[in-house]
Each structure stands twice: as structure tokens, then as C-alpha cells.
């Protein structure tokens, strides 16, 4: 999954050793290098506070990108992530009144599941391309958001979500927002599911060779549909987390995550053609993007330059390992 092919076993040259390094190590390594570079420029950047600040930003982006990771691994893409985030966040806040916080939480996750289920069924059963299906879903959800909420301001966030996200917790004597351990825990659970469950393994097989998977007797349609379903649930969860952390919600709150969720996944070493990727890598990718953002802020370069650097990083990453294997 993460390592490259075990090719050339006899020639233990430096190249093949490098190829054996698990992919998620690279973005994490890049993050460490960027962190060190930051320290060289501004020594006070090498502090626990600075690290926590970057990591908090990165984990929020990661949570929004976990669903995208699952979609990309199975050779799809989920462009409905932005408005799934917005829809889940707004409906969660709207449902807190009638259903109570926990009921609203469950209902919002279920709505994410339903969104993912429809995406999956249309893609797997009707055979529409993932891009078209999820763009249509994204548009449909935007309509639903505007019709149901009409730019109304919903700002009452229940305490238990604040406790999950923006409340300060102390771990090993370090103060951090609760979203940080929450994101890491979610990463751990998802990575275990992807790496060690039969379903997780089959997701990779479907992503790299759907026809082979079919011939091997896997129920490809069911795996695809469940993959999109998980992607929808994770995007909905991200919506609730974002509401909890920033304590505000709007119709367009997901817009920034359209490109940046794909960016985190790609920088995290996933193949855009499917069959390769990991949530640990996605967190690494988000950390790299987060550290760039920190450096840009410290050096006072402006938010524009940050976007430019994001673009260059993606180009560097895909030219390192994004090439078509056949070309």
C-alpha cells in the first residue's frame, strides 16, 4: 500500500532502500525540514506553542481531507466535500433545538452517510464518473443549504461539541485545543481500518485494479458505495468539528476545502489514480501545508504567496511520485 514495489531485491542500492521507505514518512520528513528551516529564520518558531498552532490548523484540514483520502484511494474523488461540510454543519446547528446535541450530532452524521450513499450508488450502479456525480451532488447540496438556511446566522454551538474541538486540554503538560488529539485519534482508527481490515484492504484493490478485484470475487460495487458512504460521514464530521472550533457556520464555509482537501491528500503521497494513499500521509500533507502557512505569516509574505507556494509544493510532489506508471 504505502511502500513501492518490492522490485530489485538483490540490488540493495540506495535507490531501492529509498523506495522501501513508507510513503507517509516523506511528508512528515518534509514537515520536520520546514519546521527546522523556520527555526533557522526565526529561532522563536521552534517552540511547542508554534508547533501546536500549526498542528491544530493541520488537523482541522486533515479531518476535512480524510473522506477525500478514502475516495481517492478507491480511484475516485469527492468534490462534494465542501457543501457536505456546510450542509452537515448548518443542519447540525439547526437540529440541536429539536433533537438535542447528541441527536443532532448523530442526525448530521447520518445525513453525511446519505449523501455519500447516493454518490456511491450513482457512481457504482449507474457508472457516472466520480467527478460529475460529486459536482452534481455539490451543487444540489448548495441549493439545499440556501433553501433551508438562506444565509441565516446560526451561532449557538452546544457545549459538548466545543468540548470535543476548541476547549483546551492538557496532555503531558502541554495545552492544546481538543481538536488536536481528536484528529490524531481519528487518524489512528482510520489507518488501522484501512491497513488491517479486510474492507480497508479491498478498498486499495478496487482502487488499483477494479477489474481484477471483480474477477477475484470481490463485490466491487458494494466496496465503492461503502467507500463513498464513509467519505460522506467523514466530511459531515469535519463540518461539525469546524463549527465547534470556529463557532460559526455559513453557507459557503466549505468552499476553501474543495481544492485544499485534494491538495492535502496529494501532498500526503496518495496517487490520484487510486490504489495508494494513507490517512497518516494526509496528516503529513496537511502539516506541510500548515507549516508553509506559518512561515508565510511569520515572514509577512501575504496570503497570496502562500497559495503560490501550495501550488509549487503540489507540483514538486507529483513530479517526485505522481507519474503514470506506464508512461
Amino acid at each position: 500500500m504505502t511502500t513501492a514495489v518490492d522490485a530489485a531485491p538483490e540490488t540493495s542500492s540506495g535507490r531501492s532502500v529509498l523506495a522501501r521507505v513508507p510513503r507517509p514518512v516523506w511528508p512528515l520528513l518534509a514537515f520536520v525540514v520546514l519546521f527546522a528551516v523556520g527555526g533557522l529564520i526565526r529561532p522563536n518558531l521552534v517552540s511547542v506553542d508554534s508547533l501546536i498552532g500549526t498542528a491544530t490548523f493541520a488537523l482541522i484540514l486533515s479531518i476535512a481531507s480524510f473522506g477525500q483520502t478514502v475516495a481517492v484511494i478507491q480511484a475516485g474523488i469527492d468534490l462534494s466535500v465542501p457543501n457536505t461540510i456546510g450542509f452537515a454543519a448548518l443542519s447540525f446547528l439547526a437540529w440541536v433545538g429539536p433533537l438535542g446535541p447528541v441527536g443532532a450530532f448523530v442526525a448530521a452524521l447520518l445525513s453525511g452517510a446519505l449523501i455519500g450513499l447516493v454518490n456511491g450508488v450513482v457512481i457504482a450502479k449507474l457508472g457516472l464518473t466520480p467527478i460529475v456525480t460529486t459536482i452534481a451532488m455539490n451543487g444540489l447540496l448548495f441549493g439545499a443549504i440556501l433553501l433551508a438556511f438562506n444565509f441565516s446566522e446560526l451561532t449557538v454551538v452546544p457545549d459538548f461539541v466545543i468540548g470535543l474541538t476548541s476547549a483546551k486540554v492538557e496532555i503531558l503538560g502541554v495545552q492544546m485545543a481538543a481538536v488536536l488529539p481528536l484528529g490524531l485519534a481519528l487518524m489512528l482508527v482510520l489507518q488501522l481500518v484501512l491497513s488491517f481490515s479486510g474492507w480497508g484492504r479491498s478498498l486499495f484493490v478496487v482502487g488499483s485494479a477494479a477489474e481484477t478485484a471483480r474477477l477475484a470475487g470481490l463485490n466491487v460495487d458494494r466496496i465503492r458505495i461503502s467507500g463513498y458512504l464513509l467519505s460522506g460521514v467523514l466530511a459531515a464530521f469535519a463540518g461539525i468539528v469546524i463549527v465547534g472550533y470556529y463557532q460559526q457556520a455559513s453557507a459557503t464555509m466549505g468552499a476553501n476545502y474543495l481544492l485544499s482537501s485534494v491538495a492535502a491528500v496529494v501532498v500526503g503521497g496518495a496517487s490520484i489514480f487510486g490504489g495508494r494513499g494513507s490517512v497518516v500521509g494526509t496528516v503529513g500533507g496537511a502539516l506541510v501545508l500548515g507549516q508553509v502557512s506559518t512561515l508565510v505569516t511569520v515572514l509577512n509574505l501575504g496570503a497570496n504567496i502562500q497559495q503560490l507556494i501550495y501550488g509549487v509544493i503540489i507540483l514538486v510532489v507529483i513530479s517526485l511520485y505522481g507519474r503514470r506508471s506506464t508512461a
Partner: protein
């Protein structure tokens, strides 16, 4: 094209067959139905002012969708198309302040071409996936656009507005003329030149193109450059009709250009897609909001309805094939 176009020739079976093969029949049907409903609900569409407003609304989308179509024909997808549009738009609007409009236009077109060539080089000669390359350049071009002009502005003359978005001759909105010129040139290029057939060929069967000794990389590069050029034309016409340059003006065109190409029945694996289908699909998607407004329905429904139209037009033929396949299979 030099032969006489007689009605008989227009109905030539091969033309219809081609439209069907390119998947253009469903979007044409959808557009005609949509237009009928529109005119019934709002007969005043055919008045000068409303027609012109409607045309100015859909022409930029139609041009950007044509740009997206060319990329899709070679089997790619352009995530950076909105950013390319924003960049060309602000370059044009900001340069009109100091340079003659014609020079600013050429500059904007060159910027669009450069964006396309940048993507094309990386995709064709770098062997990188189009979706990842254009994801990266979406960040880069978007950032450059905000460097050129960080808030809506620029100085676009009244004359330019009249020349791009006014009425050239009474009852003929000029934007439609420009769209028609681009569409016909593009149609000639794609259907009547070797290059055009190579573009379709690269998308439908890369191996055959290579086996035939044709240069698939050069063709891909030219397709990306062409798409950038057409996108820049869309950006210029958008600047002409809104009278400003806006670094975020292209953002909403990313998803809607892909939606229009999907609705046009193009195959995202490449090699299939028609110009007329794409233009009519863009018209349908662009005008749904207007129709709902005149029908007295909350125009937010446009997002829901567009999505349902896309899924219906793209999905119904698939379901139809599946059903007919099953019925035939059951009989035998």
C-alpha cells in the same frame, strides 16, 4: 465547407450520426425543451433587453465550457480553468487603464495561452496526471490573479462594453456573434483539420495514435494551449459585460464548466464530445436561475435543478442501455 449548404445536406444522415456519437442529442433535446418552457413562462425573453442580458450571462460560461471540452477531449480535466479565467480577466481589466484596449486584449489572450501551455507541457512532456497538474496550477494562477489585482477594479471603456456585450445590429446581441465565430472556428479546427482529428484520437485511443506515428504529446500540448486561449476569450467577454476585472470572477466557472461538459454528453475518458452540445448545455445551466425567477420560484432551486438535469441527461441513457441489455439478455 466550400460545398453548398443545402437543406438536404444539413439533414445529411452522417451529420446526425456524428451528433449522436458525440452524445449531443440529449443536451440538444434538453435545451429545446428548456427553451420551450422558458418562452412559455416568460415570452418577453425574446425582447431586445432580456435577450441581450441572457446572452451576456451565458456566453462567458459557454466559452469556458468549450475550453474545458477541449481538455476533456484529450482525456484530461482542467481544475485550473477558473483561475486561468480570473487571471486573464484581471490582466485585461488592469491593462486597459494604461494600454489601448486591443493591446490589453492580446495580452490577456497571451496570458490564457501561457497558462494552457504551462499545464500542457507538464501533462504532455512531464507525463503527469492532468488533474494533479491543474490542481497545482489552480493555486498558482489564482495567486497570480490576486497579485495583479487584489480587489475588483480596472477601467473598461463604454465602447468595449458596446463591442462585446451590446447590440451589434438591432436584435442581435453581439456576444452571441463572438461566441458563434469562436464556435465555428473551433468546429472547423476539430472536424476539418488533421490536428482536430488527432485531438479526438489522443483522447479515444492514445495507443493507436502512437502506433500511427503521430505525435500525441504535441497534440496534447496544443489542446491545452487552445483551451487556455478560449478560456481567456471567455474572461475578456466576462470583463466586457460586467465592466470590471475581479480576481475571483473565474471561481464559480470551475465546477460549472465541468458540469456543462458533463451535460453535453462528453466522455471524461476522452475522445467524445461535441461543440454544439457543450454550448447548449452551458445555455441551459446558465439560464435556469433566470427561468425560476420569471416562474416566481426561489432561484436557489437552480442548484438543485441543475444537478438533477445533469444526472438525468447523463444517467438516463446509461440506465436505458442497462435495461435494454437486460431485456435482450432475458429473451435469448
Amino acid at each position: 465547407m466550400s460545398t453548398l449548404v443545402t437543406p438536404r445536406r444539413l439533414l445529411d444522415r452522417s451529420g446526425v450520426v456524428r451528433l449522436r456519437r458525440e452524445g449531443a442529442i440529449p443536451p440538444i433535446g434538453a435545451f429545446l425543451l428548456f427553451l420551450l418552457v422558458y418562452v412559455i413562462i416568460n415570452p418577453s425573453l425574446l425582447t431586445r433587453f432580456q435577450l441581450q442580458t441572457a446572452v451576456n450571462l451565458v456566453v462567458p460560461l459557454a466559452l469556458v465550457a468549450l475550453g474545458q471540452l477541449i481538455i476533456v477531449l484529450v482525456g484530461g480535466i482542467d481544475i485550473s480553468i477558473g483561475a486561468t479565467m480570473s487571471l486573464a480577466n484581471v490582466v485585461f481589466a488592469s491593462q486597459t487603464e494604461s494600454l489601448p484596449t486591443a493591446v490589453a486584449m492580446v495580452l490577456a489572450l497571451l496570458v490564457g495561452l501561457a497558462c494552457g501551455v504551462f499545464n500542457g507541457l507538464l501533462v504532455a512532456y512531464g507525463g503527469l496526471p492532468a488533474i494533479a497538474v491543474t490542481l497545482a496550477s489552480a493555486f498558482i494562477f489564482g495567486s497570480l490573479a490576486r497579485e495583479v489585482l487584489d480587489r475588483p477594479g480596472g477601467d473598461i471603456s463604454k465602447e468595449f462594453y458596446l463591442a462585446t456585450s451590446g447590440e451589434f445590429v438591432p436584435f442581435v446581441p453581439i456576444a452571441l456573434v463572438w461566441l458563434a465565430v469562436v464556435a465555428v472556428l473551433l468546429w472547423l479546427l476539430l472536424q476539418r483539420t488533421a490536428l482536430g482529428r488527432h485531438i479526438y484520437g489522443v483522447g479515444s485511443s492514445m495507443d493507436s495514435v502512437r502506433a500511427a506515428g503521430l505525435d500525441d504529446r504535441r497534440t496534447t500540448l496544443i489542446a491545452f494551449g487552445l483551451a487556455g486561449l478560449v478560456t481567456a476569450m471567455g474572461a475578456i467577454l466576462l470583463a466586457g459585460s460586467t465592466l470590471t476585472g475581479d480576481p475571483r470572477s473565474g471561481d464559480s466557472y470551475l465546477l460549472s464548466s465541468i458540469a456543462a461538459v458533463a451535460l453535453a454528453g462528453a466522455a471524461f475518458t476522452g475522445g467524445r464530445g461535441s461543440i454544439i452540445g457543450t454550448i447548449l448545455a452551458a445555455c441551459t445551466l446558465g439560464l435556469i436561475g433566470n427561468l425560476l425567477f420569471f416562474a416566481g420560484v426561489n432561484s436557489y432551486w437552480q442548484y438543485v435543478i441543475s444537478a438533477l438535469i445533469i444526472v438525468a441527461v447523463v444517467g438516463v441513457p446509461v440506465v436505458w442501455r442497462m435495461l435494454s441489455f437486460r431485456m435482450k439478455g432475458g429473451r435469448s
